[in-house]
Structures are given as C-alpha cells and as structure tokens.
C-alpha cells in the first residue's frame, strides 16, 4: 500500500514537515514536493521545463539542506515551479554523498502562489530509516 508522501506538522513560526519514501531517493523527491506545496498546488503545475541538479555534500543532512536550498534558488533565479521530481539518485562516495536529480516544472507566471519560503534550516532536521522506509523531517523559514 502506498504510504503518504509527506505531512505538515505544527510549528509556530515556520513550516515543518515530514517526507516519506521507500528509498532515500523517493523521500528526497517527496521533500521537494512538500516545500513547493507550501507555495502552490503542485498537482496543478505543468511539466514543461526540466532542471538538472547535481550536488555533493559530506552528510545526508547537508545533502538534504543543499538540495532543498537549490530548489528555493531556482524559484528566485529561474522563476521555476516544481511539478514533480523525475529522477533522483544518491550515491555514497568515499567521504561524501552525491545527488543527481531531474526536476520537472513550469515557469511560475500565471500560477496562484501564496506565502513564501525564505530558507531551509537544520533546525529539528531528522533523517531516519525504519522497516517502513525513510522519513525526513525539515523546518523551513517562511
């Protein structure tokens, strides 16, 4: 049975969510959707544009922080809205993690966007794995 992709949790000032996945890659993709759904109904965003992201970081937390920060950069710098994550691959190299992802989405012009996400934080960030798969907990500054 497919589990829920992500859920929002109470946090006074900021937005907090948990994204889930059978694999770490799937959970990363769902975390991306969780961020964009704070701004727009991602199911309504069309997949007209493609962006490739390639990152290296020392730990899984930093990798998640950098990946989600990159998405926020793309909103401002490229007017990019995410519709979905096509492919994510995460590989562990000698002392770091490497992520490659293909993002699908559209130019933000014309969409009903509300609120803003200023930044990703490490605050209460938890990456965990159990028999059901992976869970990523993130707080973003809004």
């Amino acid at each position: 049975m497919p589990q829920k992709r992500y859920e929002y949790l109470p946090h006074t000032a900021d937005a907090k969510f948990r994204a889930y996945g059978q694999t770490l890659e799937e959970a990363f993709g769902n975390a991306a959707l969780a961020i964009f759904n704070l701004l727009v109904d991602t199911e309504k965003v069309e997949s007209r544009l493609e962006h490739k992201v390639s990152l290296t970081a020392r730990g899984k937390e930093s990798l998640l922080f950098d990946f989600l920060s990159e998405l926020l950069f793309l909103i401002d710098a490229e007017n990019f809205l995410l519709a979905g994550v096509d492919k994510v691959s995460i590989s562990e190299e000698s002392s770091s993690f490497k992520l490659e992802a293909t993002l699908l989405g559209d130019n933000l012009t014309g969409y009903d966007i509300h609120g803003q996400v200023k930044a990703v934080t490490y605050h209460e960030m938890v990456i965990s794995e159990d028999e059901n798969g992976w869970a990523l907990q993130v707080v973003v500054d809004v």
């Binding site: 006074t12 000032a13 401002d76």
Partner: protein, 488 residues
C-alpha cells in the same frame, strides 16, 4: 515515528523566576554562561512556554563571549537556533558571530513615511491609492523588479546602500539622515556575497515579497506623548502615515544559507559541541567571521535600498492620486534582523560588542550619537508594526533599554499560530470581508496569503506594547490604525 529532538525534554526542567511585573529570569544551568532574561507579562507567558522558545533563548547563553544576559522580547517565539525576538551581545574580541542569530531575512525591517494628509482626505480615495501602489510595486512570489541593474551597479548597491539610491534620484537627503546607519553600512563588501545570492537579488530589488511583508496606509489614532510625536513629524491625530515592512529578499536568504554552510564545513569541531546545528558561529577575529559580517552588511544595504525603492513608488502613487505637489517625509527606518558592532556599558565599563538582533529593534535613548540629529534630544524612533488589520505603535528609545537590553526592543506582534493551522482556521475571502467591514481595505497577490496572515494568527500587539512600555525599554509615542494594506 519517534521525535528525536532532545530539547523538548529538557525544557520542562527550566525554571522561570518572576523578577517584577514584566520581567522573568532563568538562572544559568548546565553550560549557560549567563542568565536568560525574558520581558513578558503574566498574560503572555503561557503562550511563550508552549513551544521551544525558552530553551532556544537558554541555548544562546551557551555561546562564547556572551555578555550579561541572553534576552527575549515579549513577541518572542520559537525560531531555529536562536529564538525570534531574541537579543544577545558578544565580546568583539573573544566572542562570536552567528548567522542564525540574525536570521535568514537579513535587514528585514520597517520604514515609516509621513504624509500631509488627514484621514478624511484619504477615505474617499483609499481604493484608488491601493490600486495604484499595487500597480507600481511588484508584490508576491516571483514578482520581478521594473528596474534592471547591471552587475556593477548591483555591487554598488551592496557596497553603498541608499547612497546609491540618492545618487540615482530615488532618495532624498532626509531619507538617508532618518535611516538606521544612514541606510549604508560601511562594513559591506559585495565581493563577499556569492554569485548565487546576487542572481536571486538582482531581479528582486524594489519588490515587496510575500508572507508577513506589507505596505500599510495608516492614520494616527492616538498620541501618547505630543512633544516627542511632534519631533517625529506626527503632529495631530488623524494624520496619514505609510508603513513599509520587508527585507533583503532572496539575496539575504542566500547569504545566510551560504555562510551557515561554510561555517559548518570549515568549523566541524565547533558544530560538534552545539545543542542545535543552527547555532553555528564563527569566532570573531577570524577571516570567516569577517567575511560573514561583510556579506551580512552588504545584504543589509540591499534591504535598505529595497525599502527605499518601495518608498519611491509609494510617493509616486500618492502623487498619481493626490497630485504632483504632495510630499511624503521620512520618519525612520529600522532593521530588526541584524548584527551590529556597538559600544555598550557592561559592568560599569564601555565595551565593544556584536549585538545580534533577531526579530528585535535597535532603540537608542536620548543623546546617543547614532540617533539622527533631528531626534537626538528625544531618542530613536522605534517602529512596532502590528499584524494585518491591527494597530501599530511608535515608541522611543530609553536609557533603561541601554542598560537592560543592549538598547533593543520588540519588533512586532510575533506569530502565535502556524501558517498551516491558519489555513485550516481562516478563509482569505472571509478575512478580507471582515476587514472591509472595519473599513480596512486590502489588496493582495493571493487569497490564501491573506488567510495565512489573518490578524488572529498573531499575538496581540497591544500586549507587546504594554510590556515594552511597562518594562520601560521603550516609551509610547503614538498608536496608528490601518486603512489600507498591500500584501504579497
């Protein structure tokens, strides 16, 4: 799913001791070097204890070189690393600087303009005025500036702040004179700001953004101190003012993100000893600390130029609606997310410290040399914005604030309910209708945005003003009520 956050378990052990009606104290325990002082009323205290804010305030007291006390304002609430509404000062030589103690929205702040108009003159034209401002000022996510700046010009903005705006005809001499730092921090260095940050900022200069940022047309509803109010250009009740609340947009957010990452990469040994990764800092005197302060100052300059360009367009809109002769003066502009190198009296001696204000307003008292000449006798204006649809207050800095809070006061109402909870509780169209019934008109980029910022999701600004005045860290000058609001 288990919550692996250990902080919430510890919090129950913290004891708050009541000092007087508006002051509470947490004595140092564990690794805390100094106590935590909380300015709050009995009425506001339960809300403050609901989340992790107090523990976050205590965590700040652990950082190296912290002076006297970690401080929390009445509008404080849980942030990330440092609490929002937190103030801390660190020894300029042996202390540290922490991006998390300033926040992602560097130089988020408030600007207040005066107009020569009265309430009855605005009333028939308020919708027209809002329409004009909404046309002239880009608001919301993805909105881009009408101004195209070259890379060299963006560097000039980052290095010189509102001096650039003055040269380009977007500012008056008075605008600069009545702005914190004159709208230009000399410590700024554009070459310490990443290309990524510049790419984000380039298109956003002069845009309001979204979230809690706003432009508000207000009338003066009550004057508490007529003599001081007159010095600030607030000479009668009913006078129309304009308040602008925004920050350094994506550029500032990226600067904070970049340096947070650089600090944890370059200083892993510091990271290991911290209770929260967002508390990462650079020891003062290191190149990394210098680089961050230079980049933060550049982002602050960007923030001042951003509010300056919005003020320029607000003036244009007033001229469109009320004729070309109308002039809007500048009361003050103050940052509430920033670190500053300041001198304060600590244990009887003058000392240089880096004061971190994260959701707190600088508030110098009478006679301070950094208060604009026109206001020096009475003290620096403090701009305390309410939430959408509620009152805002103007206060003035006091000697008590200099002694107690490193000359700092609250920055606003402070959030009490998350955006997610707000969306469940409120509907944008209903909030808009309710406000119109109260004669407050709103023009917004998004209905959901209105729901997320409904007045009910914030703490009561009247309570914040009461604590500030009651604790004498600010003195009430005037209260303003909204007539029209522009939201992202």
């Amino acid at each position: 799913m288990r919550d692996t956050n250990p902080q919430s378990e510890e919090e129950e052990k913290m004891e708050t001791k009541k000092i007087d009606k508006y002051t509470y104290k947490v004595e140092p325990t564990g690794q805390m070097k100094v106590p935590l002082k909380v300015f709050v009323s009995e009425k506001m205290l339960p809300k403050l204890l609901e989340d992790n804010a107090l523990q976050q305030g205590a965590n700040v007291a652990v950082l190296p070189g912290i002076q006297k006390q970690s401080i929390m304002m009445p509008d404080a609430h849980q942030g990330y690393g440092f609490p929002i509404g937190g103030v801390a000062a660190f020894d300029a030589e042996k202390g540290c600087i922490s991006p998390g103690g300033i926040g992602y929205d560097i130089n988020c702040g408030v600007r207040l303009l005066t107009t020569p108009l009265s309430k009855d003159e605005i009333e028939p034209k308020i919708r027209e005025l809002l329409e004009s401002m909404f046309r002239n000022i880009p608001v919301g996510v993805g909105s881009t500036s009408s101004l195209r700046v070259s890379e060299a010009e963006l560097d000039e903005i980052l290095n010189t702040g509102t001096k650039w705006a003055l040269r380009r005809g977007y500012a008056t001499e008075e605008d600069l004179a009545h702005c914190e730092e004159g709208g230009s921090m000399e410590s700024a260095r554009a070459d310490r700001v990443s290309n990524k940050a510049k790419q984000r900022g380039k298109k956003q200069i002069g845009t309001l953004g979204a979230g809690n940022h706003f432009i508000e047309v207000q009338y003066v509803d009550k004057i508490y101190d007529p003599d001081i109010a007159r010095v600030f250009g607030i000479d009668h009740e009913g006078r129309i003012m304009v308040m602008i609340h925004t920050g350094s947009r994506g550029l500032g957010h990226q600067v904070c993100t970049d340096y947070l990452r650089r600090m944890e990469e370059e200083l892993p040994q510091i990271l290991l000893g911290l209770p929260d990764r967002e508390l990462i800092y650079a020891p003062l005197g290191t190149k990394l600390a210098e680089d961050y302060f230079a980049a933060m100052s550049a982002a602050a300059n960007f923030g001042w130029v951003n509010r300056q360009l919005i003020a320029y367009h607000v003036r244009k809109s007033f001229q469109e609606v009320f004729g070309g002769g109308i002039k809007l003066g500048m009361v003050y502009d103050v940052a509430h997310n920033i670190a500053k190198l300041e001198e304060h009296k600590i244990d009887g001696k003058r000392k240089s410290v880096y004061v971190h204000r994260k959701g707190a307003t600088r508030a110098f008292g009478p006679g301070h040399p950094d208060v604009p000449e026109a206001y020096r006798k009475v003290g620096q204006p403090i701009l305390l914005p309410g939430s959408m649809g509620t009152a805002s207050y103007i206060l003035v800095g006091t000697d008590k604030a200099a002694a107690e809070t490193f000359a700092s006061t609250p920055h606003g109402a402070g959030r009490a309910l998350s955006r997610h909870a707000a969306l469940k509780k409120f509907r944008g169209s209903q909030v808009k209708e309710d406000m119109e019934k109260a004669n407050i008109y709103i023009k917004a980029g998004s209905m959901k945005g209105i729901a997320e910022e409904a007045p009910g999701v914030y703490k009561d600004i009247d309570d914040v003003a009461e604590v500030t005045a009651g604790a004498a860290i600010g003195r009430l000058v005037s209260r303003h009520r909204p007539m029209g609001v522009i939201k992202g």
